[in-house]
Symmetry: D2
């Protein structure tokens, strides 16, 4: 049980490529275990077999990191966003850590403790100590997280929209002495307060994060571009860091600053945007070229997407993932297909150059994202425990019309 | 263990809607357990936990049928299509039946023994007794299948391209006394020998199938249309049957007679075609209106697709599936989303009318399917145990060019 | 003035390909001389220089026929559809004939008298003699038309939606002894009364038309398909005729029976559908292969479209059109372009295979056509001289919603 | 003949909106009088009636400027780019001026002498006096241009890709004492030497241009954006100018620095990109909001596009163009259409919000532009009088493949 495995920084420092896992909330939503809207991870307690199976699939696909399924598991989120089981954050976090550790021990993977932004921040509690769930006791970290994350090898900040909150989290987590990877869900336009990716990265590195990068909200190519801007920012001020990307598996060229949340298709009609495995090859290569060495995925990533990343970087990593036994690179498995014209597709240049049709001639290629321009502190963003009322919906529809007219 | 559950025909005869499950080979390919190309189900033996989990997800999504994961598990397929584990058909079929039975016992579901077409047929073995793997012994069914399917409540013929072969299968299977559902993978143009859907259905009913329909190869609306043609055909000659559809979860308006196999995106770039859950609502309603009462899915169907079918037909069925606890009908769960503009999407009319963008402006909406026009008996379709050689690929590319010029 | 030129039937009987001209009302609408909505041709009187110039351009592009610009020039149309100049049908028709004759005499072209359907028919006047503007006097044709069409070499019936009315027109016009070409604006589904293309063609041939075919309402490939159905119909009953197509220059794969009128883009947003010259090459070849020998265009056809038709059929016709001096086949003129990468496009295979982008990622590929399903005799189709009132618009919007819900 | 009309600067200084005309070479190419590739204007001599008619249509559409049809009419272009009539630049320029003057005198329009970039510049002649065709005599302007442009009210520099050459032209032309409007064919990325739009504009204003702006190469919204950058640049350094845009009538969101030349559809497959009249309303409003007061069009603009610009700005201008008699604002003419559902489209909100389909499901929305990255001085850009040889095409295709691989 002692960490005989190489730690994350050892790996990155020695030039290894670390493959992350994919997005749990979206994958488990499709499998029936996560509710879109609240997106909370109580399935770690109620359906451990489903969570364990997904961990195993990502491990088999080549992931070197098992990130705990603890998205939005802070008590302030859990109590007012609709999980009616009265499960505490501690209970869920413990269960999630156990699952990640169990599967990590089956292969060459490290457990990473996932930490998310909190609704309290958006609701604009005025004091730092009040808003951050990690900082309630004298040790600078509450007992809860101290206990549950004791076996994690690394903390991963995921899904922070404001660098200010992420910096607070880094400051608390680094008191544990474990490596901290801080990823914001921002694009090239920067965080929701308007800070550029470069400036955000500098602030995170100065706060103590050894790894910085982006996750969620944008497609792979946009995330790589943002990571590149982060790297330039960090290097410009003479600092050093490792870089990480865990993007969406959805094409989002039409997004604005707020990312895919603003697309009209979010979250229930994103299917036509899902990346193919070949898109993932391009992503992996591009991320590698940009100097990113911790390469994983977020919402939309299924195990085969991670496998494609691992397969693309097999030359650099020296090995193929276990799940390649059921694949064959670049369509090679099709050599065994019954139909001759499908066998004729078992070629790299065929799949590398395909421009896949949507089968939806009545649909456009791109959407107009919403752009309400509201952020931290706006009344409509203050969280309340009750579901949205019909009156609130009417109010929101009115605001929406206004936002559209403006654009 | 005795079948105290209502049988499939009891259910259908009493007017119940039976929900089928989704496609195992495509779902498990994405999870890393099935190899595209051979598509054989050896994971039933090697990774039972993955197969069991998928069964559970479909059960939770509302499926009343657990179809055994036995696609292409006939010995003639297994021996010459690249599974190097030397697992026999018997071994795989037994394991698959055990898994289906185990999960079916956890809820209100019946086990259905899945039977597929065989490569021997395409390779045109001349004698009926030689080509069909079920017919090798004196009882009209070989010991193998007799043993393993003993606990199935029903046989489902899936993925037959030629009605002739399906009729042979029905004739053998009906000797067990169990209900037989026969689905062909055909569209409105009929089977690969040119028989219309109506004529195909009549032949299957005359052979003894109590349930007839279509599965795979085409999108839901096309499959419903084909089922309607089958029903008209059967009724025209004064016969009666129950009807069943298990379509693709891919939009395929551009397909020709051979279905999605002919699309250039098959099988590794179909992502942009995946149906949303809202498309599934339309499918379920349309199938119901067409008189189809056994409604499930095939390749591309994930658990949430089946859940959408079950949710649409909840008024008719009188209950919602278990997994609805993590959903909320028509986006209701979004009432709990952090962002107000996403809460504004918790409305049926929003999702019912969305035309989702592909995020792929360089891609077309439709493709030109290949149309080689070769079928049973053509030299290029004769199966051989070796993978495709480089010379064969060259030959195939040449044929492809010819087919394109013709079109 | 005497017809020393070969007549239309001589040409067709000897196997010549006759090139028609393009659509005047749409081309002149874009140039500022025709009002979309009424679509009446008073510009023949008010702006003869504009009409003459367009004739010249089509002549130069290779047209062998100068069709008089007399669309919808019947008195019943003129008086109640908003041309406030009080120009009579006679006045306009005479001016249009003069212009066509003048330009025809400048080259190898024949004058064709264009005759259109009448609003009276749709308004369902009960007596044949009342509804058809050509039949008011004792000679079976009114003096007006007798006078003005005296110099035409041929009559062309254009834009008839109901074969019944077209048959009446043929019967009257054939009394002049001149050849009659009868084109309906129908697609493969047949006329608005539900008669198939084959049956329509047979009725027209029996009525005395020597040339039958289709014009307007559908794209070239659909029109060729329809002409093929007409030919099969005529040949099936042992008759003979020449065939003619004058399609739209807009891609309309999404049309239903009523044609492009039903597309939401009609008539002011059809731009993205305009055919390229290379599409026209395909059209010309396909029409020729189908046995059509009078090949022209309708709405949307600009002179360069007709030139493309003439260029494609130059081998069969033995000559290139005059306007080819400013073209060069298959992009040859680009050999003289400044930029080398544009010079690299001076190749047939480049243009023959191009799939041009729309530059409109927010737009779909296809539309849902309206389908009101109302036709001859419906109250909403009865013509009235006043413009649509706001109340009428409200009523119409309501009907539209109903039609959509149905679909 | 004396300029009793208000001059261009008087108009602009008093706050008037001046409407330009549309693009002659593309419009006349479609009508059969200009050859794509060389794009030279010899039709001014050979087919004056066609050129005159197009001038008239733009006048009728609301244009206040008749720009002489003298694109690329410099002797160095004429002699080595394939017009075999041996017409001199003087001959063509004189004829073009006569035509513009004739039509301008029929309405409220000024004649503008159009001056284009020269191939000599791209071929990199080293001396200023050698490369610019206007500067050959002692007066700083050669006799040729002195003569022919004597009756122009203004000079318009059009289609300059390098600001350096445009500055030289401004310097020569301002010696005539007439107003000079200088438009570059650049986008937001700046000229082909890499100067930003702001810097380009400053240089042109300093050289003496009273009006600066952009024409050709990009779509209206991109051109307005570029003009905005120019205005910001000029104002930043404390200068003043009037602003002008004459964009393409093609949607080109996918263009890079070189503009639509680089799109694979240029010049023979741009049809799906053509703007609707409603797009033109948006353009006119946006240009007006950006402070642009000389608003016209370039390649792709047909008379109805200019009419739409004039109609949108009618409130500001106080009058509608003559051609509106055949239009009716926002589809009002449809009130007189036969079909009720088309009458229901006679509403502004209908046309303002339409997203028109392409009718081309096999085509993408956007293209990958070529990006050879060669400019002034590159061997492949040196002009030669002979057409491109097969060897050159081979060389070019090879370069193209290289450029693609790079991208």
């Amino acid at each position: 049980m002692a960490p005989v495995k190489k730690g994350i920084l050892e790996r990155l420092n020695s030039g290894e490529v670390v493959i992350g896992d994919g997005g749990f909330v979206f994958a488990l939503e499709k499998r029936g275990y996560v509710k879109a809207g609240p997106w909370t991870p109580e399935a770690a307690v109620t359906h451990p077999e489903a969570v364990r199976q997904l961990h195993r699939e990502f491990l088999r696909a080549g992931a070197n990191v098992m990130q705990t399924f603890t998205f939005y598991a802070s008590d302030d989120k859990l109590e007012n966003r609709g999980q009616n089981l009265q499960l505490s954050g501690q209970h869920i976090n413990e269960a999630a850590c156990d699952l990640a550790r169990e599967v990590a021990s089956e292969g060459d993977a490290l457990v990473a403790g996932g930490v998310s932004q909190t609704p309290s921040y958006l609701s604009c509690k005025s004091e730092k100590q009040n808003i951050f769930p990690f900082t309630r006791n004298e040790f600078g970290m509450n007992d809860l997280f101290y206990t549950i994350f004791i076996f994690c090898f690394i903390f991963v900040l995921q899904y922070f929209e404001h660098v200010e909150e992420a910096v607070w989290a880094v400051e608390v987590l680094k008191t544990t002495g474990k490596p901290v990877a801080a990823t914001l869900c921002i694009g090239p336009e920067g965080d929701l307060n308007g800070l550029s990716p470069g400036d955000c990265a500098v602030r995170l590195v100065k706060a103590g994060a050894q790894i910085v990068g982006v996750n969620c909200h944008f497609d792979p190519m946009t995330c790589v571009k943002t990571a590149r801007l982060m790297k330039e920012g960090v290097e410009r001020v003479g600092l050093r860091a490792h870089y990480m990307v865990q993007p969406l598996a959805y094409h989002t060229p039409d997004c604005n600053r707020q990312g895919f949340i603003d697309l009209p298709e979010f979250p229930f009609a994103l299917e036509p945007r899902v990346l193919t495995r070949w898109d993932m090859h391009r992503y992996a290569r591009e991320a590698y070229k940009a100097g990113v060495r911790y390469i994983g995925g977020c919402c939309g990533f299924e195990p085969y997407h991670i496998r494609a990343v691992a397969e693309e970087l097999a030359p650099e990593r020296g090995s193929l993932p276990a799940a390649t036994e059921k694949h064959g690179l670049w369509g090679k498995g099709l050599e065994l297909h019954t139909k001759p014209w499908v066998r004729a597709r078992s070629r790299r240049d065929y799949w590398e150059n395909i421009n896949p049709a949507s089968g939806r001639p009545l649909c456009p290629s791109l959407s107009n994202p919403e752009g309400w321009g509201v952020t931290k502190g706006h009344a409509d963003l203050i969280q309340h425990p009750e579901p949205t009322s019909p009156e609130e919906i009417q109010h929101l529809l009115q605001m929406q019309r206004k936002a559209k007219t403006k654009a």
